[in-house]
């Protein structure tokens, strides 16, 4: 301190008082200035047009609802869409030949009638179905869309779903011209599809987004930006996108040209928020801003305290530990895999470790919701119950060591994702295998793209993977371990597996096919191709006045097309 203390305490106090008074004046001034600045910024914000028009969760007068989505759709070009946000929005604004009803049965959409034989599928289109600009939807619109999706230079990830059509694969691989696709239109309202091979579930496949129609003359006006913005699309479904503010909001409004108006009661679906933060969407729901939200484990207690009606179900995805079956890997040894199978208690994982609502322990490659001949597939063909047996496991482990010529099993690399749930599961796997079999597991935690790169190059022994259905048939899971399937990241290669898959692909007889799937299920268990961990669950809450919100396992994750608002009780 210098000599300031010479000035008397009194004058210091007086000075401080005067200074504080001045500060107060500055403070008040600053609040005014900030107020004015905010008005200015408001003007700026409206110029760049990034507004979220705030609406309530439900508005019974205007028959409108507000919801949030996790990520912005990259684009809404149906030939390219792969993510769940795109799938969900497309299901509201587009309609294809057929559709899944509220109780998951096929029902007519733009096609009124259809017929599938071994070589052909024929669809008779309704004459009153119109695009959102009032022009009739014809068979040519489907033909154009399918040919476009197969263009090799487009690189559509879902193009393989169109391989069912004659020459589809050859066109996609660039060996045949697009016009050689086996589709024809004897007249504007009849669509004849020539099939590459007999396919039992072609009618179910056409409900998928890659099969949606696109009108050629409109597509050509978009200059490569088809689906990038609201005005770069033409709609065939119950709603149209009337406003799309990137990163912020989408407004879906009733399509005045939709042929089936009387089944739709909502006038407006407002996607008001885009955020991947589950805590934030829960707050929006609590604040009465959105009518629907999924819940994460960490939000569940909070939701329970609110006494909401929490709904839980499976989302259709199966998660499993996939082995690397390549020659140079020790996981190629079946006894080693069997030893692991015999000690891993997936019920313990699901019910005691992760404890996530809606999740059920995995028993089979095929999830429980898949349809068999007359009932659920898993009811008709129950999976062999696994009996945990540590002694037997140790015997298998000894055999494995002998076969591999090793004194001790070397460290096994478990490749996994970087989210909290994967962390718990991989640590559990590590602990169980160490405790029961004295096998050391090295956890290799990677973010999405790096994990994919390692899975593709085979840089793992075990990988924690999940598979969601692309279409509503057991084959979407059944062909996963075919030697030719690029998604078979562990390169499992077994002629018996390929033979069973071929039967399931080519046969059109339901019983023969389901028996083939049962064979695949049994082989996957006997040969320990994979260790099913669980079927993923989902928990969600819906505004009590909003009815008939439908969650689906294939296509749109959540469907509001038939939802309606009831008056408050």
């Amino acid at each position: 301190m210098s000599n300031t203390h010479i000035t008397s305490i009194d004058s210091e106090d007086a000075f401080a008082k005067s200074a504080a008074r001045q500060l107060l004046i500055y403070g008040v001034g600053a609040v005014f200035v900030i107020g004015i600045l905010m008005m200015g910024l408001q003007g700026l914000a409206s110029i760049v047009g990034s507004g979220t028009t705030t609406a309530d969760a439900i508005d019974i007068e205007n028959q409108s609802i507000t919801i949030a989505i996790r990520t912005e759709p990259p684009q809404l070009n149906s030939t390219l869409a792969t993510d769940s946000s795109s799938g969900m929005i497309l299901a509201h604004v587009m309609e294809g030949l057929l559709r899944m009803s509220m109780d998951d049965q096929l029902e007519p959409a733009i096609a009124t009638r259809w017929e599938v034989t071994d070589q052909h599928a024929t669809f008779w289109l309704r004459r009153d179905a119109k695009w959102s600009d009032g022009v009739a939807i014809t068979a040519h619109d489907f033909m154009f869309a399918w040919k476009t999706a197969l263009l090799p230079e487009l690189g559509s990830e879902y193009a393989f779903l169109l391989y069912a059509i004659k020459n589809g694969r050859a066109i996609n691989e660039g060996t045949m011209p697009p016009d050689s696709l086996g589709v024809s239109a004897p007249d504007d309202f009849t669509l004849v599809v020539e099939l590459e091979r007999p396919i039992a579930f072609f009618d179910k496949m056409v409900t998928f987004q890659t099969y949606l129609p696109i009108r050629e003359d409109f597509y050509n006006t978009t200059d490569g930006k088809f689906g990038a913005d609201a005005d770069q699309m033409l709609y065939s479904g119950p709603f149209v996108i009337s406003n799309w503010v990137h990163g912020s909001s989408l407004l879906l409004e009733r399509n005045p040209h939709y042929w089936n108006q009387q089944t739709i009661s909502l006038k407006r679906i407002h996607i008001g928020y885009i955020t991947s933060d589950a805590g934030a969407t829960l707050n929006f729901f609590k604040d009465g801003k959105i009518a629907y939200t999924t819940l994460l484990a960490e939000n569940l207690n909070d939701a329970l305290e609110q006494r909401w009606h929490i709904q839980r179900e499976q989302d259709g995805t199966v998660f499993f530990l996939e082995f690397n079956h390549r020659d140079e890997r020790i996981t190629r040894n079946r006894n080693l895999r069997r030893a692991m199978q015999l000690v891993m208690d997936m019920e313990e994982l699901v019910y005691k470790v992760t404890k996530l609502p809606g999740y059920i322990p995995g028993e089979s490659l095929f999830p429980g919701w898949l349809q068999g001949v007359n009932d659920k597939f898993r009811k008709e063909y129950p999976v062999t119950k696994l009996r945990l047996n540590r002694e037997s496991a140790l015997q298998h482990l000894e055999l494995a060591k002998q076969e591999l010529g090793l004194d001790k099993i070397p460290e096994i690399v478990l490749l996994t994702g970087d989210n909290p749930v994967s962390n718990i599961q991989s640590e559990w796997t590590q602990a169980v295998l160490k405790r029961e079999l004295n096998i050391d597991i090295k956890i290799d935690k990677q973010i999405f793209k790096q994990r994919l790169a390692k899975m593709t190059s085979g840089d793992f022994d075990l990988v924690m993977a999940g598979w969601g259905p692309d279409y509503d048939d057991p084959l979407t899971f059944g062909d996963l371990f075919a030697s030719w399937n690029l998604n078979n990241r562990g390169r499992y290669n077994n002629p018996e597996m390929d033979r069973l898959i071929e039967i399931a692909q080519l046969s059109v007889d339901p019983t023969t096919r389901m028996e083939a799937f049962a064979g695949i299920q049994q082989l996957a268990f006997d040969d320990v191709v994979l260790l099913p961990m669980y079927e993923r669950g989902v928990t969600y809450v819906v505004h009590p006045q909003l009815k008939d919100v439908k969650r689906r396992v294939v296509g749109a994750e959540v469907d509001f097309t038939r939802a309606y608002i009831v008056p408050a009780r």
């Binding site: 000599n3 000075f15 001045q22 600045l37 914000a45 691989e173 660039g174 990163g247 801003k289 790096q450």
Partner: protein
């Protein structure tokens, strides 16, 4: 002055070029690639996509093409948002981040200066103790906690009062901006408060203040002209980098409040290895930071007569 500015701009361009080069090669060294997705692609389709995005060429050729394009202000097309130009993404979303950032920095600067001056005036008395305690909290609690707490408190408040006092998320009106910008500016405000306090304390005991008092200069003038004006200088020095840091660092706040800012695209692009968006946003933000530092240095010459811009 102009000579100095020109020199700084040239240095700035070199810095940005360096950022672009380092990012380009670092990004390509990361395992994985932007084309991989949940579904495996066949070799043929993959090759077609590589041609489409120019990934089939040798890395150095890609680099040269890239430099040529950015020198013309073209950042290319996003890999994940296939039909959108990176320029469009920046143009549409940066104003949102900037608006949020400007407001946050104004909150931070005004708050920092006022609280800092107040604590210095009342040093070692209760207002000082209380504010400095809050400052330590503000510096040490990360923004995702503050953001989530802020949002939750607002929900409780709205539920309690039965009216919507402020929106809990989204973007569009002035009311949407208040809470997120306060949350975003809080850390900087705390930091500036501490800076302002120590700089005030230094000046309070300076000789020229004593002289002014002895001369009989009115207290209001001493406080405003001699103390505040001098104490504010260090605050202005850190303001430039802070503006850039706040504008670019709003990622967490943008996610939690569902704000369509650029920060979100920046972080998502890195996770998805969206090469063009990574490059576009990094170069853009790099240039922005360099520009802000230059601007602050030039302003400094006007505020502090001791600094000469040569």
């Amino acid at each position: 002055m102009w000579k100095y500015a020109l020199k700084r701009v040239i240095q700035g361009v070199i810095t940005v070029w360096f950022i672009a080069t380092a990012t380009f090669f670092a990004m390509h060294a990361v395992p994985g690639d932007p084309l991989s997705g949940d579904k495996a692609l066949t070799e043929r389709i993959r090759a077609n996509l590589e041609i489409k995005y120019g990934l089939d060429k040798p890395l150095f050729t890609q680099y040269v093409i890239y430099l040529k394009n950015i020198s013309q202000g073209d950042f290319g097309i996003s890999f994940t948002q296939e039909n959108r130009q990176v320029n469009d993404i920046i143009r549409e979303h940066f104003p949102v981040s900037a608006t949020l950032g400007i407001l946050a920095i104004v909150f931070a600067a005004v708050g920092g200066v006022l609280w800092g001056a107040l604590t210095a005036l009342y040093r070692n008395r209760w207002p000082d103790t209380v504010i400095m305690f809050l400052v330590i909290l503000g510096i040490s609690v990360p923004s995702f906690v503050v953001a989530a707490l802020g949002q939750l408190s607002l929900v409780k408040l709205n539920n309690l009062t039965g009216v919507s006092i402020l929106p809990v998320g989204g973007w569009g009106t002035v009311w949407h901006m208040i809470l997120p910008s306060m949350v975003l500016g809080l850390g900087t405000m705390a930091y500036l408060t501490r800076l302002m306090r120590s700089s005030m304390l230094e000046i309070i005991s300076a000789d020229y203040i004593r002289t002014a008092k002895a001369k009989g200069v009115p207290p209001t003038q001493i406080f405003t002209r001699h103390q505040l004006r001098n104490a504010i200088l260090p605050v202005i020095t850190v303001l430039g980098p802070s503006i850039a840091a706040i504008t670019t660092g709003g990622f967490v706040v943008e996610i939690i409040f569902a704000i369509p800012g650029l920060g979100r695209y920046f972080v998502q692009a890195v996770q998805q290895l969206d090469y063009t968006v990574i490059m576009g946003t990094t170069v853009f933000y790099g240039a922005f930071l360099v520009f802000m530092v230059i601007v602050v240095d030039i302003i400094y010459g006007y505020i502090d007569p001791r600094v000469r811009l040569e």
